[in-house]
Every structure is written in C-alpha cells, then in structure tokens.
Point group: C2
Chain length 426, copies 2
C-alpha cells in the first residue's frame, strides 16, 4: 500500500508556515506510531512546529490523533462522577497525595494515571514508591475495582494509553523540542482525555521552579489545554499557581510523603493546605458536587481513611515507617533578618543532585534524598539559624548540592510574599 502522503511534504508545509490538513495530521501521527515515519523525520517536523506553532484547529486534531493512537478508557460504568487533576510540575509539589483521597472522600472518583520525574521536578509515582510495599503498576481490572471500592487511584499509565505521546515525549526530550505550548498541551491532554474522566482540573505552575517562567506563557498553555478538554466534552478548568518557592517545606520523595501525611492529619504547611483545598473545591465543583466542604473531610479524618485504603489497595503499608536519609547537612543563616526568597529551581536541582532525581528514565531514584526548607519567605531568622537541610545517603553528593544552592536563600529586612493562586482559567 502506498502512503497517502509524503512525509517530506508534510514537514515542508509546516516548515513554510502553512497549516496541516486534518488528514495529514491523522496520517503522520499514525505512521509515526507504527514506525513508518522515521524518528529523524518526526524530529524535523517537531522543530518546525516548535518554531511555526499550530493553529487551534491543528492542535485539536493533533491531540485527537494522539488519543486515537491507543485506547480510550470508558469510566461511564462508575456510579459516582469522575474528576482528575494534573500539575505541570513544580518543586515540592506533593499535592496529589492528600488531594486524591480528599476528593474521593468527598464523593467523587479520582482516576489518576501519573508519571515519573524527569529533570528537576519529582514524579508522583516516585514519591509513593517511598512507601514500603506500594506498587505503581495495576492491571485494568485492579484499576477499575479500586476506583469502585476506594474512589481514588494513583498509578502508572499503561502502554495502551496514547502510545504516540510516549514516543513523541522521548523524542522531544533529546531534540530540544520540549518547551512548545502546542506540544506540551497535546501531550498532557491526550493522556488526560484518554483516561476517560468527565472533568479535569489543571494546576499550571508558573515561576522559577516551573517549566513556564512567566504568567503570560502559563496562561497561554492553560487556555490551550482548557480549550482542548472542553472540545472533547470534558469539564476543564485551570489554576495558575506560584512556583517561585518550593511548595511546603519538604522536597524529596519520602520527605514529601511525610508532609502529605501531616496535611491529611489536619496539620502541614499552610501553603500546601491552601492549594490542596483550592484544587479540591475546583474538582468537586467540576464533578457537580457543589455542596461538599473538603475542609471538613480533611479535619474529620475521612481523607486520611481514604488515603490508608488507597495505599493498602496497591500493596503499601500505611503504618510503615518511612525511610530516612543517613546524612543530614544543615545550611545556616550568615546574617539575621527576614527570609525574602527561597528559590524553587536551585532547591529542585539540589534535591535532584542529592539522589531524588534521574538523568535518564531508566535511572533509579533515592527515596530518602531531598531538601527540607527550614525557613520560608517571611520567616525571621537569627545568625546560625537553620535555613535548609540536605538529606542524602551519599555524603559525596552534598558538596555539589551546596554549590547549586549558592544564593538560593536571600535574607533582607522585609519579605513581600506573592499570592499562591495567581489566576483561574476556565
């Protein structure tokens, strides 16, 4: 059979600023997934898309073609409304951990297929794997049963879901074509739409520790994703939230699980609680559960109960002691004053270097490595007061992490703290 299109013609059209037809998009995504379009041809097309952009029409079709490259799950058999959440990734972003059981405890079903960390932000699956016994991989039957019985699942996406995205993501990573709004939007939304939830809340991070460094770019991405979800009949809203400072105090897998447990127990850092509740309200609203107050479910222990059942259903022991690093190095204040900033990006990189991150997707991660932010913006410190704790099982890594953290914490006379929730798109 002859191919209906020559891939070079498709590349040239986009290269020269033209619009691809729906049939060209369907064909090129399918042919690439099957291996009939070569990696070097797709990477040339991706670079052309990066530099020329995509029209709204192209973006919708590209995303649909990626969904159609695999299975689309059907969750319509569940009695309760389904709602999912996705974060574009930030430093110390453990919000999914308290949020999924909290929303499930309030009456919605949260089917979350999640990923692993690449770069300076950690992956939710890596965090949960710090819990002894917990496993990320479920069969379809286990997945559906857990949704039915517990109401919340956080697990690894199977190979059948948007396989085109899996190939494209790996290719973009090595060809300098990651930071493109249409490519990011289609990658996230193809998986989220294929998951089959009827509503979605997006947490689009903005700031030094996020992929989007400024509000305008973050807003453009949020609008593109909201439009894609809405076009597919999924109620979709997005919150733009600050990622200049790490979320909460803990950065690193076991450290973040411990902090999530504090939140589920009714405590935890105020910013983590605030964002968890804000996202929970959006999710419940999108699910049509407008009269439920998530703050109550957090306070009365229902969210913690659901967490325990969610962890246990995936083999984890909710009562197990979390692993702790053998080495802790403390960075202290050289002067007295008020902490004016704790820069999320170097803290993320330091955690990565201490062992929490991976350079290639095959690499293992350390569950115990990470950074604890002892003094947050606005905190008053004296000389010698602890600012950051570096946790690792490999003392050789401390020096490199310290080099990264040079200048990450600044101390002045007064701090100006920015709002956590910047904007709502939807």
């Amino acid at each position: 059979m002859t191919a209906p299109f020559a891939v070079v013609d498709v590349i040239r059209t986009k290269r020269d600023g033209g619009e691809l037809t729906g049939a060209q998009i369907d064909w090129v995504i399918d042919a690439y997934t099957r291996g009939a379009v070569a990696e070097e041809q797709m990477s040339a097309l991706l670079m052309a898309i990066f530099l020329r952009g995509m029209s709204d029409r192209e973006l919708v079709r590209w995303t649909m073609a990626m969904i159609n490259s695999g299975e689309r799950m059907d969750l319509s058999g569940l009695a309760r409304p389904t709602v999912d959440k996705h974060s574009t990734g930030g430093v110390g972003d453990k919000i999914t951990l308290p949020l999924a059981p909290l929303v499930a405890a309030c009456g919605a079903v949260v089917p979350q297929l999640s990923g692993r960390g690449l770069g300076h932000t950690g992956g939710t699956l890596d965090k949960l794997e710090a819990i002894p016994g917990w496993r990320a991989t479920l069969t379809s039957e286990e997945y559906l049963r857990q949704l039915h019985e517990v109401g919340a699942v956080v697990c690894a996406a199977g190979a059948a879901l948007a396989p085109a995205d899996r190939k494209l993501y790996a290719l973009r990573d090595v060809t300098g074509t990651v930071d493109s709004i249409p490519l990011i939007a289609s990658s996230i939304m193809s998986k989220k739409i294929a998951e089959g939830a009827s509503a979605l809340v997006l947490d689009v991070k903005v700031g030094s520790g996020a992929f989007m460094k400024d509000v305008a770019t973050a807003r453009t991405l949020a609008e593109a994703m909201v439009a894609l979800g809405t076009a597919q009949g999924m109620r979709t809203v997005a919150l733009l939230t600050a990622m200049d400072t790490p979320l909460g105090r803990a950065v690193g897998h076991a450290l973040e699980v411990a902090e999530a447990l504090d939140v589920l127990a009714g405590g935890g850092p105020p910013d983590v609680v605030e964002l968890t509740l804000a996202l929970a309200r959006e999710m419940l609203d999108a699910a049509g559960l407008v009269d439920v107050d998530p703050a109550k479910a957090l306070a009365d222990g229902r969210a913690m109960d659901t967490w325990r059942r969610m962890i246990a259903a995936q083999g984890g022991d909710p009562d197990a002691r979390l692993p702790r690093a053998s080495e802790v190095h403390t960075v202290t204040a050289a002067r007295a004053g008020v902490v004016t900033s704790v820069d999320a990006y170097p803290v993320g990189i330091a955690s990565w270097r201490l062992g929490a991150g991976r350079a290639r997707k095959e690499d293992p991660v350390s569950a115990t490595a990470g950074v604890v932010v002892r003094a947050r913006p606005g905190d008053r410190v004296t000389v010698g007061a602890p600012l950051l704790e570096l946790h690792t099982d490999d003392p050789d890594r401390i020096e490199l992490a310290l080099a990264t953290l040079e200048g990450a914490v600044t101390i002045g006379d007064a701090a100006q703290t920015l709002p956590l929730i910047v904007e709502r798109v939807g």
Copy 2:
C-alpha cells in the same frame, strides 16, 4: 570521556535564534560524523538552521568542520594551475562534458569530483556512464596520474572526502531541509574546497528548472559560496545563468553526451556553446591563464583530443556508438506560431519519468531515456511540427511523461528570449 557539549543545548541555542560558537560547531559535526549525535538530533538542528539561518561566521566554521570531517586533497604537486567548476544543477546541463577537456586543452588542470542525479536534474557521472566501458570510480593514484597526464578528470568523490556532507545530504533529503542557503552552500563548498583546486567557477542556475527559482535567492547563494571559497584562499567566482528553458536540445544521459560531442566537434546548440565558452573563460582567468582563447581550442580540435584521452583513461571507448532508445514518441504543435517557452522543470520531470532519473540513490538509471527539444523558444513552427521527442526503452512510461508535459511548450506570436548569463558574482 564526557562530551564537551550537550547536543540539546546546541539545538536550543540555534532554535532560539542564538549564534553557535566555533567549538560547538566543530563538536557537533564531528560527533554526528562519528555517530555520537543521533540522526533525529541532527535533523532537529538542521530544521532550526533552516528556519533561523546562520551568521557568516557560523557558515565558515560549519563548512570548515565538514571539510575537517575527512581528507583534504593536496594538488600542489601538479605543475599547472588547478581550477574546478560546479553547477547547482539544471535540466540538460551537460556543460561539464565539453568544458573540462576544453579547459585542460587550454593549459589548466581540471580535477572534478562529481555526483549522481537526484530529483529532476541529471548527474554528470550518470551521463558519462552512457559511454560503453567508462567507469566513475578511480583510485587516488589513478586520479592523480590522470590529472598529470590528461589534465582533466571527472569521477566519483571517494568516501574520504567530507563524509559529514554525505550523511547530512542523505538526512536533509528525507527531512525537508534541503532548500536552505547555508546548508546548500556548505555542502557544495566543503566538497569543492576539500578537492584541493586553487580556483573555482560556480554556475548558479536560476529559474523554473533550477533549485533557485528567483535571481535574489540565487545571488544570495552565489555570494555565500564565493565568500566561503575566498576565505579558504581559493579564487572563486560565480555566474548566475538562466534555467527557465533546458540547456541545448538534449535532456537525458546518452542524448546529452551526443550533444556534448557535437560541441567538441565545433557545432552544437548556440546556448551550450555560449555557456561552455563563458565558463571556460572564467576558469582560465581564475587559473591565471588570461591570454588563452578557448574558442580556438574548440575550433581546432584540441578540446576533442583531450576529451578522447579523458574518456579512454577511465576505460571508455570514445569511438563506441552511444546507446539509443527503442521507442521515440514525438509531441507536435497544435497550432502555428512562434515557440514562446519550453519550461525546463516539466521537461526534467518527463525525462526522469522516462527512465533517466532515480527516486532513491540506489536506483539504476536508463542511459537512453530522455527528451529532445526539437523547437526552442524563438523557433517558428507550423501545425504538426515536432516540438518534443520522448525517448525510452519502456513504452509504458510515455503516458506519464506526456501528462507531465501538458502545457510545457507554449506557442504565441512572438518570443522574448532572456539572456543566458544573468549576472556575475566575484
């Protein structure tokens, strides 16, 4: 050993419109040639170069890095001045065939490493292979001996010459990154500089049958190549020449050799003679042989003598009968008048479809296939007069070729013929 650069950083720099450093360029070309930079990474970089361009400084360094990927020949041991010629490719462009022996007969040495045809223009090696016995491949010793004894060689470039270009050319062909001025200029000039001639005359084709469709683009390419050659101490000039109409009457390998023999015998179509002499004068001038008249060497048979020795030295029989196609189909005039245009591009495609061209570089070509232009612009024709002859050994191909030629020849009341030599750059 750790690579001194991350290829993704190099791609990102060019993607974002920055300038690559000399060290980055040297590294990426070398690493790609060695296979340490993957095809999909280089194709992303090529697309970024296509869309962002290259500075003059980048282009010089990129070309040098391609030369340094292989051997650079040393022709300084030859007693006579060396001068080469390169054409960017046109329909019916057999000029090298009479030109190389003519310039050698006038006292210069012409070392021409040539290529095969891809797309609608034929390759010089394919044309010469229509001569029974002639072979394109020579050892280094045979090559140097022939330069010394005959003064002219047209043969295949060895694998040792600019191997980076060989890989890049194949990659550009399948990734929509061919028509980029810096990529074309560096590809041509890396090979020509590595060949070691001390002077070079470029024939930059412009018009429907050429890769450059307009004079401005052709001039930009010519200027870039002249600057690259000059920077390497090679006397370099370029002629921009018309390629709206096929050169001469013959298009196709054996047909073009026959026409070249007519020119060497003192006859041949006026435009082929004019361009051959113009390029010969430029080459002799660049070689410092200013007092020699190539028209005389063509008229008195010295060019033909050198041709015969050049062909014989590579195993060819200069007296052998050239092969002829078994089928000849004539396209005739539907009305009387003056031929106003013979469009080079469809004639080139028709010749290709009749068997003269190849779709992939492994494909064989037919020596006999091609098109003879019986009526050129300015010729007066009656109804039924022959316009084009289609030559092929495969009658099934005629219909497809005829479809291509629809509208290729136009007949009106008066023709306006354009100058063959448009401009000189040097």
